[in-house]
């Protein structure tokens, strides 16, 4: 990507944030808070998620067979099934149904799949009046805008904007102002349009193979009306919506509303087995008695492939097909909360999982437009009701996008980018992906490198060549690394240590933030542990985050080889940087042979997790430094640390050492590794960070603490106050 296109991308993001950012932030954060509350009420939340996952795995595995079963069931019920290869095929079929019904109007309830195939445009061209009856979708239809969210499509529009839109379009007799007035106005108008509709179209949240039942999860009642009134119903659904049997709907019904908008259940979960045994309602014949089992009804189920069967064969994209489109991964995503689906989204889908959908359906070009919005913070993973590894899908797609990028101008950083990528991730990604090399060099010539890097000419050059935003202060390198400091010490190891530990010299602690490394060593030794800090390679987190999977794998193998002798000798592996804990216990599973992964993963501990373990097993907590009188600390835990459920250890240890701890509900600081340094994302990163800064300011604490390098830098930039790593607060003085 050139400096120019980075500039125009930054501009676009700025425009969307200005126009839509506030409404999107308020709504998504509300949904996200609602999710925590609603799933918190479930005793068997994890078991339901596991069950949901199992059902999806099984259904996708058996998909060809289930498609046949559905076809058989629907035909038994008196309906027709059409399997469409792609969007054009589906559209042709649907248009032919409308034509044979001589349909003037088709009313629709909300369906992302119908957006995917762009059926509205197709039918309009064929002369059919298509009306979206979901209020949000209708607003967008009137405004000629695309959805910004997969569940609540118009969240980017404020009440005032909707009022203005209705004003312009309909010039209503009375001024519409409140949400109530707007809703009633829409209800009236749409009610009229539904009355004499000829065809009703719905999507399907699920389709059961045993009975041909379509499950629709809604709240407004428009889907029920669209099905009940006209005598012809069309349902469009991706083939992945099929589950084997009715009972399988149970976990999804409990999870979908809670995970998405934070509702325990939506007003209506319709289980339609079409053609439905219910009389159609002919409003034109006022004397018609409403009765009968709907013998006049017709039903067409259009099952859409459009790339899905190929996704099923693709080891890495296959998981995408488990997605139930609940929107949790959008709402929980700090980046999405700032920009919404018009930035973090492709042609149809938005949010973290959209990368998988768009890559599989529209191709890599579409996915490439927004894939970098995913920083791999992993907050969506625990929120996803079917446990999809959404960050991994983003990483894989990024790697594939890298693979087709041109490699010109790479010579500029030859030597700084000794990666094992065969083709070109582009200079910006390679620079960040090879951060270890940069850090090594920077440290070797520090402090000169620090003076130079932060001078205006150097900052300008870095921004122009590699897209490192000049407004972002660069990290400063330490002349003496953590490992060198450790080697130069003449401390005597404890004679009879309780435990033996290797503190992993992650690249941030080793080359930049040596103080937190020293603090970790002091704290562990004070608690009676023998500590070693051997030289070790970077974890591979930096290249992985840029989609450079081969390079990351190479790093993982190196680290594993370097550390294995210590692990074999009974050393525990203590890690300060949370993103590296996540690497060792998470991503390494995908990068290393099983035995090597297990050895590293099983012996890895986050530093405060380890300290907590020592204290719980009898080590003397008084050996640690305690708060000086009444002291409050505003503590921000790292995104991945939260996903791994490790944040509680830091909080608890701070409390045990006498601090009053204030936490926040911010999902991610917004720096997220390299994201906040990239010039196209700098402003978005600061916008995300502002949410955190606001909460920290509000806490008005005596001290600020955080756990991740990114978070520490981001807070420093936002508040101009350097926060401390928790271990620096608790380690005994030098």
């Amino acid at each position: 990507m050139s400096g120019k296109s980075r500039g125009s991308q930054a501009e676009r993001i700025r425009d969307v944030m200005d126009a839509e950012g506030d409404a999107v932030a308020t709504n998504t954060r509300g949904f996200n808070a609602g999710r925590y509350e609603s799933v918190g009420k479930l005793d068997d939340y994890e078991a339901l998620k596991d069950r949901a996952r199992e059902i999806k795995e099984d259904a996708i595995e058996r998909l060809p067979e289930l498609i046949d079963d559905v076809a058989e069931a629907v035909e038994e019920n008196g309906g027709t099934v059409y399997i469409a290869d792609d969007a054009a095929d589906a559209n042709r079929y649907i248009a032919s149904v409308c034509e044979s019904e001589d349909a003037d109007r088709l009313v629709k309830s909300k369906s992302m799949t119908s957006e995917e195939i762009e059926i509205n445009e197709h039918l309009e061209r064929e002369g059919v009046d298509v009306v979206e009856t979901d209020l949000g979708e209708w607003v967008l239809q009137l405004a000629e805008e695309a959805p910004s969210h997969i569940v609540a499509p118009a969240i980017h529009k404020s009440r005032a904007e909707i009022a203005k839109l209705f004003e312009e379009r309909f010039d209503p007799d009375e001024e519409l102002e409140s949400a109530e007035e707007l809703t009633m106005f829409a209800r009236e108008r749409l009610g009229e349009l539904v009355r004499d509709a000829d065809v009703g179209m719905t999507g399907a949240n699920f389709v059961t193979a045993d009975s041909g039942t379509i499950a629709l999860v809604t709240s407004e009642g428009n889907a029920r009306k669209s099905v009940t009134v006209p005598d012809t119903q069309i349902a469009v659904a991706g083939v992945e919506k099929i589950v084997p049997q009715i009972e399988d709907l149970h976990p999804f019904v409990e999870l979908i509303g809670r995970s998405g908008t934070g509702q325990d259940i939506t007003s209506y979960v319709s289980l339609f087995t079409p053609p439905i045994n219910s009389p159609s309602v002919d409003f034109e014949d006022t004397d018609a008695v409403i009765e009968g089992t709907g013998e006049d009804r017709e039903f067409h189920l259009v099952l859409i492939d459009n790339g899905r069967m190929a996704m099923r064969e693709d080891e890495d994209l296959r998981e995408t097909l488990y997605c139930i489109r609940c929107s949790a991964c959008s709402n929980t995503c700090a980046n999405f909360q700032s920009v919404g689906g018009h930035v973090f989204g492709g042609e149809t889908y938005s949010g973290g999982i959209a990368t998988g959908w768009e890559a599989g359906i529209s191709g890599l070009d579409t996915a490439a437009e927004f894939n970098d919005q995913c920083t791999g913070c992993s907050r969506c993973v625990e929120a996803c009701p079917v446990g999809i590894d959404i960050p991994w899908i983003n990483t894989v797609v990024r790697d594939r996008i890298n693979d087709r990028t041109d490699v010109d101008a790479e010579f500029l950083v030859e030597g700084l980018t000794p990666d094992t990528e065969r083709s070109g991730p582009g200079i910006q990604k390679r620079l960040f992906g090879n951060f270890e090399t940069l850090a090594k060099l920077g440290s070797a010539v520090a402090p000169v490198s620090n003076w130079v890097a932060n001078t205006p000419p150097a900052a300008r050059a870095l921004e122009a060549v590699a897209g490192v935003d000049r407004r972002r202060p660069l990290p400063s390198f330490s002349r003496r690394t953590f490992v060198e400091w450790f080697e130069s010490r003449d401390a005597v190891p404890p004679a009879d240590p309780d435990r033996k530990v290797v503190v992993y010299p992650d690249i941030y602690t080793n080359y930049m933030d040596v103080e937190r490394g020293k603090a970790a060593v002091r704290a562990l030794e004070a608690l009676g542990v023998e500590v070693l800090v051997p030289p070790a390679s970077g974890s591979g987190r930096a290249p992985l985050s840029q989609g450079m999977i081969d390079t990351a794998r190479h790093k993982a193998e190196t680290v594993s080889e370097e550390l294995e002798p210590y692990l074999e000798a009974g050393y525990d592996l203590v890690v300060i940087e949370p993103s590296d804990v996540a690497m060792f216990t998470g991503e390494y599973e995908r990068l290393l042979p099983e035995a090597a992964f297990e050895s590293v993963a099983e012996n890895t501990y986050e530093i405060l997790e380890y300290v907590y373990g020592l204290v719980s097993n009898g080590a003397d907590v008084d050996r640690l430094r305690h708060a000086d009188g009444e002291t409050t600390v505003a503590y921000h835990s790292h995104c991945q640390q939260r996903t791994m459920d490790l944040a509680a250890y830091s909080r608890t240890m701070l409390e045990r050492c006498g601090y009053d701890v204030e936490t926040n509900d911010v999902e991610c600081c917004g720096m997220a590794g390299s994201f906040g340094y990239k010039s196209q994302f700098y402003e978005q990163s600061m916008d995300v960070g502002e949410n955190l800064a606001g909460q920290i300011r509000e806490a008005d604490a005596d001290v600020i603490a955080a756990s991740g390098t990114s978070c520490l830098d981001q807070i420093d930039d936002l508040l101009e106050e350097k926060p401390k790593h928790v271990i620096e607060l608790l380690a005994p003085a030098e």
Partner: protein
């Protein structure tokens, strides 16, 4: 249809959850159903016949309505096949008597159900759905509270469906 006797706690749970959704609920003897419906009726009413022993619709509720009567009505009275205590949901089965349009098009929906048809949780409801829908190929709605939308900038009750739901549990 579930016929086991409901433990008293089940009704209480159902009642509590419904109240959270702002849905009125009362437990009455079969003989009192008629007057209870009458007291809950607003404007003209349409309904489906009740299949509960000893319980009947008041005269004012028109069964087998025409489309004109459906449109003129403000209240729709239908029975529910099942209720789910944990969620405060009622299960509305689409019937030949027009339960689906009658429970959907009016501003106020009055639901009548047997206390014995309250199941404790969603898992039990789906056991019932599995057997029932596979066998009959019928359709059913799990309805919880009134219809609602948040699309116009704030939560509004009464989108396309009813604005109010009232539940009568027959003991």
């Amino acid at each position: 249809m579930a016929t086991q006797r409901t433990e008293p706690a089940r009704y209480d749970r159902f009642e509590r959850t419904l109240e959270e959704y702002g849905v009125g609920v009362r437990r009455v003897r079969p003989a009192a159903v008629r007057e209870t419906i009458e007291s809950l009726r607003v404007g003209s009413a349409v309904g489906t016949p009740l299949d509960i022993e000893g319980a009947a619709l008041p005269e004012s509720v028109t069964t087998g309505p025409t489309t004109a009567e459906l449109e003129a009505a403000e209240t729709g009275v239908t029975s529910a096949s099942l209720a789910i205590a944990e969620y405060g949901s009622v299960v509305l089965r689409a019937t030949a008597e027009g339960s689906e349009p009658i429970s959907l098009f009016n501003d106020r929906h009055v639901v009548v159900l047997r206390e014995g048809d309250i199941v404790p949780d969603m898992a039990s409801a789906f056991e019932w759905f599995g057997e029932e829908l596979r066998e009959t190929r019928d359709s059913a709605i799990i309805a919880t509270g009134p219809s609602a939308t948040a699309d116009m900038g704030a939560l509004v009750q009464g989108a396309h469906g009813p604005k109010e739901v009232e539940v009568i549990v027959v003991s």
